[in-house]
């Protein structure tokens, strides 16, 4: 059976962005689709892909659809992508009345009822899809009438094939390191799924997809894939694309040993937590020695109250210490910082700016607090009626549009600019004294 997959990732980079814009959104492969493709191919199906990022516009998409004789179409969607997915499906059905449309991915899992209401979607797979998607394809091939809503079965990670890197055009990812300056070719991989922490700007959405238990691939499995990637793409740096790569210190220690033993010295980048780094500085050291070049750390805020509000379970001191540990071991720091949390005051934002100054990150990635669908905080702010984002259109975190009511975004923009340019305390204080744009405090609801 032939399936055409559609990767809708144009929400951030836009159409015609693949290899044309230097951002990762425009160039990275989607591991979800690639994994499903690998599973489908292993079961004897054939798969091809329409990557919207490589098309000119919707008309071009329409032409691509028209060109194919495919009957079964599979799409994945983040919440951010959902409007484009809806539009793509509509065009699909305009062109192919008998098309069978399957939607999976994060948005289908956390906003199932919303997706169910869209009658143009024929089948919806929630959670992990490697097993269920293949089963569904089998049923369709046998012209059975499968269920519309299918809850995906979670696979054992070592038992599924490595992701299908032939599905995507790899040249984009290979040429686009996560951080400019990391040596290319560059690749990404996932070592596991799930996260045991409960930061409420994310959870429980993550758990809704991957379940309560964290699953890690065996170190051998990951190293094996890396060896394959080395052979195939001659990569010179890579990224562990996990939400949190360093979760289990025993796993990480063993990984470092095996990575070195396999002769790898290639630098890599991964996501870390400040508290774990403080608790296991020796593991951080070991990772640094094995090749960890960049740590992406979710510092989030310089205010303890905000960290607690997020249930981040880290402290400001840990943030600073983690940065110091990185400096000590020569790991570059990619700081993820969030501005404009609900109830956040100007003083707290200024604390965060000061923290950034102290951390002196090698890369600062700032974002506005965004009520991401499926997260605890999103439900909270929706209940209080504070969100300004379209039900799913606004889950883009980057600071260019307003997310929350009663928040002085003009002021926040200035604060963020100050965080970037390392200005003086005096300017910060002056900033604190600017008049409000909105009448309320920064975020008025409590």
């Amino acid at each position: 059976m032939h399936v055409t997959m559609i990767f809708p990732g144009i929400a951030l980079p836009g159409f015609d962005s693949f290899m044309k814009k230097p951002t990762i959104d425009a160039n990275f492969i989607d591991h979800g689709l690639a994994s499903l493709s690998a599973a489908a191919k292993a079961a004897g199906h054939s798969v091809d892909l329409i990557d919207l990022r490589m098309l000119r516009d919707w008309t071009h998409f329409r032409e691509e659809v028209r060109r194919r004789t495919t009957k079964v179409w599979a799409l994945t969607s983040w919440s951010l992508h959902y409007p484009d997915v809806v539009r793509a499906i509509r065009i699909l059905k305009e062109e192919k009345e008998d098309a069978i449309v399957i939607l999976g991915g994060v948005h289908a899992t956390i906003k199932t009822s919303q997706v169910m209401a869209n009658r143009l979607i024929d089948h919806i797979i929630t959670q992990e899809g490697e097993i269920s998607f293949v089963k569904l394809l089998g049923a369709l091939a046998e012209r059975k009438q499968p269920d519309r809503l299918i809850v995906g079965e979670g696979p054992a990670l070592d038992e599924i094939p490595w992701v299908d890197r032939d599905l995507f055009d790899m040249s984009g990812e290979l040429a686009t390191p996560m951080v400019p300056g990391m040596p290319t070719p560059f690749v990404t991989t996932n070592a596991g799924r799930g996260c045991p922490f409960k930061c409420n700007f994310c959870q429980p959405a993550e758990r809704a997809v991957f379940g309560n238990r964290v699953k890690m691939r065996s170190q051998e499995n990951v190293i094996g894939e890396l060896q394959y990637l080395k052979e195939r793409f001659k990569f010179n740096s890579w990224m562990a694309h996990d939400d949190l790569f360093f979760i289990n210190h025993r796993w990480s220690r063993e990984f470092c040993v095996q990575y070195k033993a396999a002769g790898f010295t290639e630098p890599y980048i991964c996501q870390m937590r400040a508290d774990l780094m403080c608790r296991y500085p020796d593991v951080v050291k070991q990772m640094a020695e094995s090749g960890l070049a960049w740590a992406m750390i979710g510092f989030e805020s310089g205010s303890q109250r905000i960290l607690d509000l997020f249930e981040k379970e880290t402290t400001v001191e840990e943030n600073l210490k983690a940065a110091a540990i990185c400096k000590e071991y020569g790991i570059k720091v990619w700081a993820n910082i969030m501005f404009g949390a609900p109830t956040e005051t100007r003083a707290e934002v200024m604390e965060t700016v000061r923290m950034v100054w102290k951390i002196k990150p090698d890369h600062l990635s700032s974002s506005y607090f965004t009520p991401t669908p499926g997260s605890g905080m999103a439900e909270e702010v929706e209940r209080k009626g504070l969100t300004m984002v379209d039900p799913f259109n606004g889950s883009n975190r980057t600071p260019n549009e307003a997310k929350m009511k009663d928040t002085d975004y003009e002021w926040l923009t200035k604060a963020i600019a100050l965080a970037y340019d390392g200005g003086s305390e005096e300017r910060l204080i002056a900033l604190g004294q600017l008049p409000m744009q909105s009448q309320e405090t920064l975020c008025a609801s409590h």
Binding site: K21, E94, L120, K405, A430
Partner: protein
């Protein structure tokens, strides 16, 4: 003696870089710590004489005051010196006072560069210091600590007991020869801790020159502190110090702290050579001016290790830059070139910018912002203008009351101690912030690539800046903002009910939606719409869709029947009867409680239905309806025109910008995205009125009726539907025309709407209705404008997107606006003609505020009879747009006041207590005006029929025209004004074609001028205001010229419109010409330097006339002569073309035309002009030909002088002499001629004759400086060497770079055998002008005379390095060698 030199601690309390701001101190931080060079030099001087010195630089050592005290504790100190900076004055005074307390026996000395007496006095009083050093004490410090001298210090002298101590100030003298300075005692400094952001650490500083001669001293502290005289070290001296730094201290990062490091480019080139030859790998940065940097020098500097340049750009506004107070000499192209060059060479560029120069405006800050974004400096430093005491800025600031803070703690460069005429302090702060944020974004984009959010952020930021700069309240149709305005939350309800918990699931029984879609022949798009309704987040069980087919012929019904919809789809097929009939049918058939009306080409977004349903769930009242947002479909190409019609300026479709606080009025009752309770609709006797045969105003009409009943139309941006309809200009013009028809229908039904909303009356005014042919023509224009070579234009300004926007707003939108308005008016007129409905006469509805097309401003002073005649004529004319009259009475005494008081109607009268003059009166009138355009009219005019229409028409049809002038006639019907030309001989504007018959073709053409008269002048109000109106510095003359030039300078056009005719009884007002001389002077001062304004030939020659100047007894007169001879015409055309090229500043074309001198017309004055132009554009060699031709026309003093000069320059003394002879024989009292004669005599060594000639030159007004110089030279020639020596010494003291004087001094010195004195003089000259090889050669000769062989050899080496082929070098070295060998013999013998 034991002496402590302390760079006072500041870091803990208020970090300050003490050596910055020319040494006055500048706010700093830990990232910038620079060594105290002044203290280190003093330390070196003191150590040379054997004193014990401790040098404590507190900040880099991390010492706070307590730690410094602790370090001093336990030792005996004879002298303690502490530095004092302006921003930290108080803190430093306290520090000194504490030192005083702790070391009562020591002399406590403050060291500062502040010279202001008041400040110094306060410092002395507060610190109780014995002395404050304010001058350059590098070499005299020993005298000061021993108490032997007071040069460059200030102190308090106690008088009689009980009296206030008197303040004493010793001016001191700057160090003349910086080569004498010892190397700073760097070994006493914590060198490893010095850091400079552009270089890192450790960094050493060198100051190789002091002083700055540039006029930026208006605000810059360097000239204030170091003087305007530039003193510098020789390359060799610098190199020696560098060697010490690099080889002994091991520091390889150098920051040259000179104000203008490359002022003498040869000096730096030589230094670079030395550095390269030394083979060091050093990195250095320096501060300099863009106009002191040649390409080859830059390359050399890079080779020698220059990695960064700090250049003072100050502002991006070239106009501000070029003012005396700005950065004269710098131009943007120079900067662009430097940026390019530095990029290639890998030199980092740091822009020093200032916010708040006195002429700066918010707009000029936009220019600075653009400059940063465009030339992408590697780093920037933005300071706020600071009125350092002693600067001209400070004086002016005090005088004008600009300075808001006199506390020096606010003078650190980042505080805002003053405002300016154009900027408030808040503006400065905002401006600085914009620049810095903009740069931060720029850097982020450059480092992190151009991601979508970052681009959006950058754009948003730029928009913010523009909004701020141009005082725009709201951006043009920023839909995002409208979106942000939309409420989604339940407002506090009027009746509190128990249903406050929103229900996620909406039950069909309680709120069922019926979507009503009328359709006609749109099968494909309708299918898309239905598919989109299938992919809603709202459950399909909860709504129905009613499609009413209005008799389509494309099988729509068949498609609908086959459509498998998950929701209830009901299809009603009807006979074709129009959309309204279909819609009404659908509404009646609908079953839901709420009817959602939309179109067949409206493709809803997924949350569309949910948003509507949720709204009605929360607003159960029948009177609450909801309007959603309509966007363009992403699947169609949205043209600028489509954007325009939904924008706030256009607004012909979907005027969402009219939404206020979440509510829309009936005008936004759009049937594309609207939900209303069904019961309310069914209660209406008429639903959508089928009298509207075209879909325009039908929805508004129903909306109006409902709103009268109390309907509230809420707006919710969450309900988005996408209009899938490509709209063309031509199609929409037709639509507007039909809308005009429908407006008439609506006006018939609701006459109260006809004036305010529908503007029927406006439209019926014939001026609006262009008629079919004209509409078609304007449409062609618009279509042409839609496809300009935008790309090429965008190259001119970087940032294509921004340019597009400007282009759209400035050019295209006004054209669209005109076109659509005309089409609408055309439709209305057509409908009225066709009798679509009788328009009821204007309903008596109070118009809120009278708006006039034009405000006629008439300044008057006496001459009542003229005023009344003018007003009476105005009132009697019939075809006029709406206008008001404002009479400004300049204190008339002849009953004018009473007459005006008796006037009624729309006449405003402003009465002044005295005669304020024309400009003030006009400005007053303009301020009071309420009309769209301003019309300035003299009271001695008599307007004729149609005069105003013609003017208004002109500006309305030409969006680029700002000023229009009329045809003015004398009483006898001849031309008084048909435009203004600028004379090529004098810079004077005059009326062209005066006295020509009124029907001459040349005065009946619309044409552009640089200027028209204000006797009758229409001006765009916003443009008039933007240039500040008339300049009241003129008194009744040239105000109009100045205004027009100001407006023209901003790119607006000024047009003469002969269709507007008035009689002008010129200059009837008493005293009108009383100030002509002052006015001319002012005009000249303001505009005189713009020689290219002269335009008379480019006006006359194309008309077939030559403007010849003839000399008569009364003086020079101009005469217009028809150009009949084709050859003659061709010649004149060249002169005219040259004027055109000059105005366009097209230098290459201009040069080409000037080079064809032989082809120019044989007119003395034209040729003379050509010669001057050659000189102005720096092509003096081309001038000679012009002068020769002038001479061939007529004997001319100027030509003789110019030619004599040429001859002299080329060494043809005889020829020069003959010119001068002729000149002097005709004009014996020609000072300039005598000067030339003197020079010629000097060249012939006839010193007596020369002396006489120079004396005559002096007597007859020749250049006195040159004449005196000449006299001295002659004296020197005559052997009067003593006098010559003193005279030339004086000249050199005044102008130390005068090479001629130096040569003459050498001559005199040689005669007098003043060898020692000559050495000093020549060395000083050469230190400033190291490239003058002949004087260097002379110096070597003088050294030889003095038997100073080594020094002679040094000079020889220098010359050989700079020019190995220099004439006489071998003889020089021969002489040196000979003597040296003799010397060696002597040594050997001893």
């Amino acid at each position: 003696m034991r002496i402590a030199l302390i760079n006072s601690p500041s870091l803990s309390a208020r970090p300050v870089s003490r050596s910055m701001a020319g040494g006055l101190g500048f706010d700093g931080n830990e990232d910038m710590l620079l060594p105290p060079l002044d203290l280190a030099i003093m330390a070196a001087t003191l150590r040379q004489i054997g004193e014990t010195v401790d040098l404590i630089d507190a900040d880099p050592l991390g010492l706070d005051p307590a730690a410094v005290y602790a370090r001093l504790e336990g030792h005996w100190w004879d002298v303690v010196v502490g530095t004092v900076s302006l921003p930290t004055l108080d803190q430093d005074a306290l520090f000194l006072a504490e030192l005083r307390r702790r070391h009562p026996a020591a002399r406590i000395i403050g060291k500062t560069l502040v010279r202001d007496h008041g400040v110094l006095r306060a410092l002395l009083e507060r610190s109780a210091a014995d002395l404050v050093i304010h001058g350059e004490a590098d070499l005299t410090i020993a005298d000061l600590v021993y108490g032997r001298g007071t040069a460059g210090t200030a102190w308090l002298e106690a008088g009689a007991p009980g009296t206030v101590p008197s303040f004493r100030f010793d001016e001191g003298a700057p160090v003349e020869d910086l080569n004498q300075l010892p190397f700073p005692a760097r070994d006493l400094l914590p060198n490893a801790r010095y850091i400079y952001p552009l270089l890192g650490t450790p960094v050493a500083t060198l100051q190789t020159s002091r002083g700055c001669p540039y006029p930026c001293g208006y605000y810059c502290p360097y000239p204030l502190v170091e003087g305007v005289k530039w003193r510098s070290q020789t390359p060799e001296r610098i190199f020696a110090e560098l060697k010490d730094v690099v080889e002994r201290q091991g520091i390889t990062k150098i920051y040259f702290r000179d104000a203008t490091f490359t002022l003498n480019q040869e000096r730096v080139a030589r230094l670079c050579d030395l550095i390269v030859a030394a083979g060091w790998r050093i990195e250095w940065v320096c501060e300099t001016r863009v106009d002191c940097l040649g390409d080859s020098l830059l390359e050399k500097m890079r080779e020698a290790g220059c990695v960064g340049l700090l250049v003072g750009v100050e502002t991006g506004d070239e106009q501000v830059m070029h003012l005396r107070e700005g950065k004269k000499g710098l131009t943007i192209p120079m900067l662009a070139h430097l940026r390019e060059k530095t990029c290639l060479l890998g030199i980092r560029l740091h822009f020093l910018l200032i916010v708040g120069l006195p002429q700066e405006t918010r707009e000029s800050l936009v220019a600075t912002y653009d400059l940063i974004q465009r030339y992408k400096p590697d780093t920037i430093g933005v300071t706020i203008i600071t009125p350092y005491p002693g600067t001209a800025l400070h004086a002016e600031g005090i005088r004008e009351g600009w300075i808001d803070s006199h506390q020096y703690k606010d003078y650190g460069g980042h505080q805002i101690p003053m405002h300016t005429p154009n900027l408030t302090r808040a503006d400065m702060e905002a401006g600085k912030q914009f620049l810095e944020e903009g740069f931060a974004i720029l850097q982020k984009r450059q480092v992190g690539g151009h991601s979508k959010p970052l681009e959006a952020m950058a754009q948003q930021h730029y928009e913010q800046l523009l909004r701020w700069a141009y005082h725009l309240d709201r951006p043009v149709a920023q839909l995002r903002e409208v979106l942000a305005l939309a409420p989604t939350l339940p407002q506090p309800r009027k009746q509190s009910s128990a249903t406050s918990v929103p229900l996620p699931v909406i039950s069909l029984a309680r709120c069922s939606l019926s979507v009503v879609i009328p359709t006609y022949n749109r099968r494909a798009i309708l299918r898309k719409t239905l598919l989109a309704l299938m992919s809603q987040t709202f459950a399909s069980e909860q709504f129905e869709v009613v499609v009413v087919d209005d008799g389509s012929s494309d099988d729509t019904v068949a498609m609908l029947r086959q459509f498998k919809a998950p929701f209830a789809l009901r299809v009603l097929a009807a006979e074709h009867a129009g959309a309204n009939a279909a819609r009404n049918l659908g509404i009646r058939a609908a079953q839901g409680r709420v009817v959602l009306i939309t179109g067949d080409d409206m493709i809803p977004e997924p949350s569309f239905l949910e948003a509507h349903a949720t709204f009605h769930e929360r607003h159960p009242s029948e009177m609450d309806a909801m309007l959603g947002f309509i966007d363009w479909s992403p699947e169609i190409a949205v043209t600028p025109f489509m954007k325009f019609i939904v924008s706030a300026e256009g607004g012909q479709q979907f005027a969402f910008h009219e939404v206020r606080e979440g509510k829309a009025d009936f005008r936004l009752f759009y049937t594309s995205n609207l939900s209303v309770k069904r019961d309310l609709l069914l209660n209406q006797p008429v639903l959508f009125d089928q009298d509207f045969t075209y879909p325009a105003y039908d929805d508004v009409e129903l909306g109006y009726r409902l709103s009268v009943q109390g309907l509230q139309l809420h707006y919710n941006a969450m309900a988005v539907t996408c209009h899938h309809h490509e709209i063309t200009l031509a199609g929409f013009v037709q639509r507007q025309r039909k809308a005009g028809h429908m407006a008439v229908v609506l006006a018939r039904k609701h006459p109260e709407l006809s004036r305010t909303y529908l503007k029927i009356d406006d439209a019926l005014n014939s001026r609006h209705a262009l008629g079919e042919a004209q509409v078609a023509r304007v449409m062609q224009v618009a279509q042409e404008l839609e496809k300009p070579d935008l790309q090429q234009l965008a190259l001119i300004r970087s940032g294509a997107e921004r340019f597009d926007r400007t282009y759209l707003q400035r050019v295209l939108h006004p054209v669209y606006q005109t076109l659509l308005q005309s089409a609408y008016a055309w439709g209305i007129c057509e409908a009225v003609e066709q009798g679509v409905g009788a328009i009821p006469s204007v309903i008596a509805c109070a118009s809120p505020k009278p708006r006039f097309k034009a405000s006629i401003v008439i300044p008057v002073f006496n001459k009542l009879e003229l005023t009344s005649q003018c007003l009476a004529t105005l009132a009697s004319l019939t075809t006029m747009p709406e206008y008001e009259v404002i009479v400004v009475d300049n204190a008339s005494t002849d009953g004018t006041a009473e007459f005006l008081a008796a006037l009624g109607g729309d006449v405003q009268v402003i009465r002044n207590p005295e005669n304020y003059g024309f400009a003030v009166a006009c400005n007053q009138g303009a301020k009071a005006a309420r009309g769209e355009f301003l019309l300035f009219l003299n009271n001695d005019t008599i307007p004729t029929e149609g005069w105003l229409n013609a003017l208004v028409d002109e500006v309305e049809r030409h969006p680029d025209v700002a000023v229009v002038g009329s045809k003015l006639l004398y009483e006898d019907g001849t031309i008084q004004h048909a435009g203004v030309a600028f004379s090529r001989i004098w810079f004077s504007p005059y009326h062209i074609y005066k006295g020509f018959p009124a029907d001459a073709p040349v005065v009946n053409r619309r044409r552009e001028f640089q200027c028209v008269t204000a006797a009758c002048m229409l001006a765009r109000r916003e443009v008039f205001e933007s240039v500040g109106g008339f300049d009241d510095g003129y008194r009744n003359g040239f105000e109009d010229v100045d205004l027009c030039l100001k407006i023209g300078e901003r790119g607006w056009k000024i047009v003469y419109q002969p269709k507007s005719v008035l009689y002008h009884l010129e200059s009837q007002t008493p005293g009108r010409k009383a100030h002509e001389r002052e006015n001319s002077k002012r005009l000249l001062a303001r505009w005189g330097h713009k020689w290219w304004l002269a335009d008379e030939d480019m006006i006359y020659v194309p008309d077939g006339y030559a403007y010849r100047t003839v000399t008569k007894q009364q003086g020079i007169r101009g005469r217009l002569e028809p150009l009949t001879d084709p050859e003659e015409k061709r010649r004149w055309k060249i002169a005219a073309d040259a004027q055109i090229a000059a105005q366009r500043q097209d230098l290459s074309a201009l040069k080409e035309l000037l080079a064809r001198v032989e082809e120019w017309p044989a007119d003395e004055w034209v040729l003379q002009r050509g010669a001057w132009v050659c000189r102005w554009i720096g092509e003096s060699n081309l001038a000679e030909g012009f002068w020769r031709r002038v001479l061939s026309q007529n004997e001319s003093q100027d030509a003789r002088i110019a030619l004599a000069r040429f001859a002299l320059e080329q060494g043809q003394v005889e020829q020069a002499d003959s010119h001068v002879n002729i000149l002097l024989s005709n004009h014996a009292q020609q000072g300039e001629g005598w000067l030339l004669r003197g020079i010629i005599a000097m060249q012939r060594q006839e010193f007596d004759a020369a002396s006489l000639a120079f004396q005559k030159a002096l007597d007859y007004g020749g250049d006195p400086r040159k004449a005196r110089m000449g006299q001295r030279m002659a004296a020197a020639g005559l052997g009067q060497s003593e006098g010559a020596w003193t005279a030339f010494s004086e000249v050199l003291d005044r102008d130390p770079d005068d090479a001629e004087a130096a040569h003459w001094l050498l001559r005199a010195g040689t005669m007098l055998e003043q060898w020692e004195k000559l050495v000093g003089r020549l060395q000083r000259f050469l230190s400033r002008n190291p490239g003058d090889l002949s004087l260097r050669f002379a110096l070597a000769g003088v050294f030889l005379r003095l038997n100073r062989w080594a020094e002679a050899r040094h000079e020889y080496d220098s010359i050989r390095l700079l020019d190995p082929a220099f004439d006489g070098l071998s003889e020089l070295v021969g002489a040196i060698d000979e003597n040296e060998s003799v010397l060696t013999h002597h040594h050997a013998a001893r």
